[in-house]
Amino acid sequence: MNLFIQAVITGVLVGGIYALVTLGLTLIFGVMDIGNAAQAAFAILAAYIVYWLSSLYHVDPFIGMILATGLLFVMGFYLYKYIVYKTSGLMAFALLYFLSIFLESTMVFVWGNTYRGIKVPYLSGSLQIYGYYIPLDRFIGFLMVSAVLAIIAYVLKYTYFGKAIRATMQNPYAAALMGINVDRIYQVTFGIGIALSGIAGVILGTIYSFYPSLQGVWIGLMFAIVVFGGMGSLSGTLIGSIIIGIISSLVATYVSSVWAPLVAYVILVLTLWIKPSGIKGRKI
């Protein structure tokens, strides 16, 4: 029982990390129906930026994170404005997929495919509650995802900008007729989506060691979550991530670690087969 509860705790925390990584992807998917295959590559890029800032100039990782996130927003904004807008649907997915490979190989070229880790000495160790261990770094990650989700939900629900996004999401043509600058909405959403991956990348970098090719591992997992949770549904992403996190953790605990990575893909295939709209998604 002890083991079971610890496994579930681990799963929930890991699920939180998954959700954080996937949020940006969900947002972009939901608003403009583009599968941003470069999401994970940007996350790793952010991790590298922060790694170098902290190991060369001793910038605190959390300050570095703010810088990296800002930089990524700008990159995402202009990337959409000048390149991605030319494509849509499948072609956009392919374009971004190859962009992710380009980013990965550029990172390999510049920094080598060596394992790195952002050191945050004050986050090593863990909290202990009723004899269960909650690793501090993952707990912080989980708090971050909660905060980010709350902010996004608030913005979408109560601000003018958020209402404009939701209007665009439902019907871009009608939104444009109502005077919403749809192009600008797309650019900003893309920027925010990429920036979110920046936050996620830095959190990831403090918890796990990372290397450029890791993006290939993450992107598969992220798409599994988006499909499972339902395209474009933020709450679906959170629920889906935590379910996948818990099942992976239980499989690693009770079956074997080598089978845990398979969980996400099995869920992906089953979802696509049985209910392609996912647990909370709209019809496709």
Binding site: G35, I83, K86, T87, G89, L90, M91, A92, F93, A94, L95, Y97, F98, L99, I101, F102, E104, S105, T106, M107, V108, F109, G112, N113, P212, G216, I219, G220, F223, A224, V227, V258, W259, P261, L262, Y265, V266, L268, V269, L272, W273, P276, I284
Partner: protein, 323 residues
């Protein structure tokens, strides 16, 4: 500029192309007699391998419009089928590579039924996951596949020169067979139906084309050739492991080669393979820094999607993009 373009166009598009193809084939066949450099024969051999995968991919990705991001699954499946049959039962790889193709077809059938219902990016995502799933399965099922240790195949019984030549011709035959198959496809009702599905699946369905059946058939056909080349590769490399033969980059190569050359055409994937593989290998050996070859590759892929979505063949035929 316009002169060269019309010249190339003549070679590729006009009726004369039969002669061009004939001369190229003759040249290719006699190459091992002309050159004693194993390196160049090996270079072409691997080129044929990638071209075969690209040509196979083109049947589902180019003609049918279902863009598979996990075609490496079939390549790896073929490689492992052949390797396991050789290591455990001592069967000749030149026979069992066909069996590898059959295994890939069966697998494609199982996978195709649920995934081919999906459209566009969803099919791409599903197939992207497929490559990862197979890699994990082959890593974990150690008792059958040798797991992460990989499988070591016995060395071919010939001296190095002979053995490279044998594999060279074998790979060329597979390559030729795949090209001839697409040539047939291009000129058959089956191929026409596939193009209809690509252009407008709903209309195709309403005009009485059995889309589900034809899509599946195209998927099976496209799985076959990569698997056969994978089987030959495993015996040629004499060592395979899941990380190598299920490398997602192989799927990527198939897509980029086809797209640059022109997907949905007979010679597109071939032309794309020749150009890009040469460029990538040159980049790799001139600049030994890691990652450069892939960088060049993916940059070309991005540029092609934006500026040349119909590929070289499409551009020359002037279907579009010839602004």
């Amino acid at each position: 500029m316009s002169f060269t373009r019309s010249l190339i166009k003549k070679c590729l598009v006009s009726k004369n192309k039969k002669y061009v193809v004939f001369i190229l084939t003759a040249l290719t066949l006699s190459l091992p007699l002309l050159s004693s450099e194993i390196f160049y024969i090996d270079f072409l051999l691997v080129l044929f391998m990638y071209a075969t995968i690209a040509v196979g991919w083109n049947i589902i990705g180019g003609y049918t419009g279902y863009v598979s991001f996990g075609h490496v699954a079939f390549f790896g499946l073929g490689a492992y089928t052949t390797a396991i049959l050789l290591v455990r039962f001592g069967l000749s790889p030149f026979v069992t590579c066909i069996l590898g193709g059959v295994v890939a077809i069966v697998f494609a059938l199982l996978i195709g039924i649920p995934t081919l219902k999906l459209k566009g990016a969803y099919f791409a995502i599903a197939t992207l996951g497929l490559g990862f799933v197979l890699q994990l399965l082959f890593l974990n099922l150690g008792s059958l596949t040798g797991g992460g240790e990989g499988l070591s195949l016995p060395l071919p019984p010939w001296d190095i020169k002979t053995s490279v030549e044998i594999f060279y011709y074998a790979m060329f035959i597979v390559f030729l067979a795949s090209v001839l198959t697409t040539y047939w496809l291009e000129h058959s009702r089956f191929g026409l139906a596939l193009k209809c599905i690509r252009d407008d699946e709903l209309s195709a369905e309403t005009s009485g084309i059995p889309t589900a059946k034809l899509k599946t058939m195209a998927f099976l056909l496209s799985a076959f050739f990569p698997a056969v080349s994978g089987g030959l590769f495993s015996y040629y490399a004499t060592y395979i492991d899941p990380i190598t033969v299920f490398d997602p980059k192989i799927s990527m190569y198939a897509i980029v080669f086809s797209m640059l050359g022109g997907s949905g055409s007979v010679l597109g994937p071939v032309i794309g393979s020749i150009i890009l593989y040469s460029v990538a290998q040159t980049a790799r050996y001139l600049i030994t820094a890691p990652g450069v070859d892939v960088m060049v590759f993916s940059a070309i892929a991005v540029a092609v999607i934006i500026y040349l979505p119909e590929g070289i063949v499409g551009f020359l035929k002037g279907r579009s993009g010839a602004k």
